[in-house]
């Protein structure tokens, strides 16, 4: 008995995002004679099969349950709970030190959590990785020497049970023109593209990318995401970490906002953008009710300290409208200041509220 049968969820290529999934039986020729199948005693497998929720098998769910990890005094991840359905493109968005990389490393089985559990398609990460269901691009790392780009990608592809066609990967990642170059003779952007190709050659069900564009310039970033979209169009589950709100907004179906080792918001990009990507209008207006301010179209939330008011709007268009409305209603407004909320600032604001609670909770544990 071989555990591939319940990882053996392959997505249908090129049928668009959120495609339906095809369950493959154990009789599938793809899985019949791989040398690296993981053999477990039959009773262990039976136990596992019984314990795996049938929903997870068909939907290919990625489930992180109350993940925690500390490095000495630093609590890098403090209780992360996430469930990700197959076919989703999910962004972990957060500033440096938010715990994104630690979460991803635990998801890939590279770091063992202090507590909590990771399940990829109903399997522990190491088993899912062994079965070739996962492809990853880690945050740090460069390429090994003495091989050409083509050879390196081929070498990694040979480790997987059903790799993509090499030429197709070269084409998708825009590495065709550098395929015969030595891995040590590449620019930063080219190296990054080759690393992407290495993650992709696996033809994985789950693709995990930890800050894939961090070393790239604007043009490189655009090229990268163009290639990426060709991949997500194949119905793969993609999880990427970034600290650029624009990237998360443009390329993810869902944004999980992390700060200080915790998830502080989770939802579709429009919702998250409204929370963190907004603009704030500050002004001094004597004797005004908060309710009145909140009724202004385009205002998401309003606060008031004496004469000082702060209006939070989701984007530039709504802040423009809200400002016109505000000046129309309160021509006496002074000290007007409109600015985009910085991501860091927004994170701090979002976390400062529940930080006290979670600290108290951690200490009571």
């Amino acid at each position: 008995m071989v555990i591939e049968i319940f990882v053996a969820k392959r997505t249908v290529p090129l049928t668009g995002k959120g495609t339906q999934l095809v369950e493959m039986g154990s009789g599938d020729p793809h899985y019949s004679d791989q040398p690296f199948e993981v053999h477990l005693p039959d009773d262990v497998v039976r136990d596992r099969v019984e314990n795996v929720d049938s929903d997870e098998k068909t939907n290919g769910v990625i489930r992180l349950t109350d993940l925690r990890k500390s490095y000495g005094e630093v609590r890098a991840v403090r209780g992360v709970d996430v469930t990700i359905a197959s076919g989703q493109t999910v962004a972990f968005l957060g500033p440096n030190g938010a715990g994104k990389t630690t979460t991803i490393d635990m998801m890939l089985g590279l770091v063992r959590p202090d507590s909590g559990n990771v399940s990829l398609f109903g399997l522990p990460p190491s088993d899912a990785v062994r079965a070739g269901a996962v492809g990853g691009m880690l945050q740090t790392g460069s390429l090994i020497e003495y091989l050409s780009v083509r050879e390196l990608i081929k070498m990694v592809g040979s480790l997987y049970p059903h790799p993509l066609d090499l030429e197709e990967v070269l084409d998708l990642t825009g590495t065709g023109d550098i395929a015969d170059r030595k891995t040590t003779k590449l620019s930063g952007g080219q190296t990054q593209r080759v690393r992407f190709a290495i993650a992709l050659i696996a033809d994985p069900d789950l693709l995990v990318l930890d800050e894939p564009t961090v070393a790239l310039d604007v043009e490189g970033r655009r090229d990268f995401w163009n290639a990426m979209q060709a991949v997500t169009a194949r119905g793969k589950t993609v999880i990427f970490a970034t600290h650029y709100l624009e990237e998360a907004d443009a390329y993810a179906d869902r944004i999980i906002l992390m700060a200080r080792g915790q998830i502080v918001a989770d939802g579709p990009p429009s919702e998250i953008k409204a929370k963190v990507g907004g603009r704030t209008i500050r002004a001094s207006i004597p004797s005004v009710h908060r309710e009145t301010l909140e009724s202004i179209p385009g205002v998401v939330s309003a606060s008031q300290h004496g004469e000082e008011i702060v209006l939070v709007c989701s984007d530039t268009a709504s802040s423009d409208g809200a400002l016109r409305d505000l000046l129309h209603r309160f021509p006496e407004a002074r000290n007007i200041d409109v600015r985009g909320a910085g991501l860091e600032e927004a994170f701090l604001k979002l976390t400062s509220e529940d930080d006290v609670d979670s600290d108290a909770m951690d200490e009571s544990r």
Partner: protein, 243 residues
């Protein structure tokens, strides 16, 4: 997955590493010709000097060859490639197997080069003697292959170069690769605990008619292998748990 493609590229990478080729192939060859060449008619301990020196240089060159897998492991750790491999279906065992086998491949090249050089200055052996000598050398290298894996996880890339160079030189010197060493007393009993001494002796004893190496040789090699493997396994676990 098919481990053979991975192994093939590992070997290709080893062959393309010029600096490494120089150390494990060229150095012993140069030493052999400069020292054994002029002394081709000298007898040493009942063995013709060129033969004596050929086994010595072969032990040194092969030791360098298999230990250098440690350098490649340290290099791959330092650029994050080991982590990348850990998220592929490649097993730890296959990873190390490929490293050890490519080290052994270089060792075979080193032996071949020295045997040709030996023939060139008049070393004559029967087919059985050649095969026995090469076989015993390969067995004697096992503890060094394990030591390579251990050092690859223990040291950084920067410290590894000097560490490997120093270690092989010391092992080779004390083991008798470079020339005669003490043959009695306390120092000799220490030397006899070194795997490099038996690496050199194993090859020689098969040639000079002394038959197979004594049980002592196998025990020393086995103890080194087991102890080093234990430590290597512990260091490997610490290394992967930390990252």
């Amino acid at each position: 997955m098919n481990g053979s493609t991975y192994l093939r590229y590992e070997m290709l990478r080893t062959l393309r590493n010029r600096r490494f080729l120089v150390f494990s192939l060229a150095f012993p060859l140069v030493l052999f010709f400069t020292i054994a060449g002029p002394n081709r008619h000298v007898q040493l301990g009942g063995i013709a000097f060129p033969l004596y020196y050929m086994t010595g240089m072969a032990s040194w060159g092969t030791m360098t060859a298999v230990l250098s897998s440690g350098g490649r492991i340290a290099q791959e750790r330092s650029v994050g490639w080991t982590r990348q491999m850990r998220i592929t279906p490649l097993t730890t065992r296959s990873y190390f197997t490929a490293k050890v086998l490519s080290g052994y491949m270089m060792a075979l090249f080193s032996i071949a080069a020295l045997c040709l050089a030996g023939s060139a200055v008049g070393v004559r052996l029967t087919a059985v003697q050649w095969v026995t000598m090469i076989g015993l050398l390969l067995v004697g290298l096992i503890p060094f292959a394990v030591l390579g894996i251990l050092l690859g996880h223990l040291l950084s890339v920067d410290s590894l170069g000097p560490a490997l160079g120093g270690m092989t030189s010391l092992f080779a010197l004390l083991g008798g690769s470079f020339g005669p060493i003490v043959t009695s007393g306390f120092l000799f009993s220490l030397v006899k605990c070194l795997p490099s001494y038996w690496l050199v002796q194993a090859a020689k004893s098969a040639i000079d008619g002394g038959g197979w190496p004594p049980a002592e040789a196998w025990i020393v090699l086995a103890v080194w292998t087991v102890v080093l493997a234990r430590i290597a396994s512990r260091v490997y676990q610490r290394d992967t748990a930390r990252s």
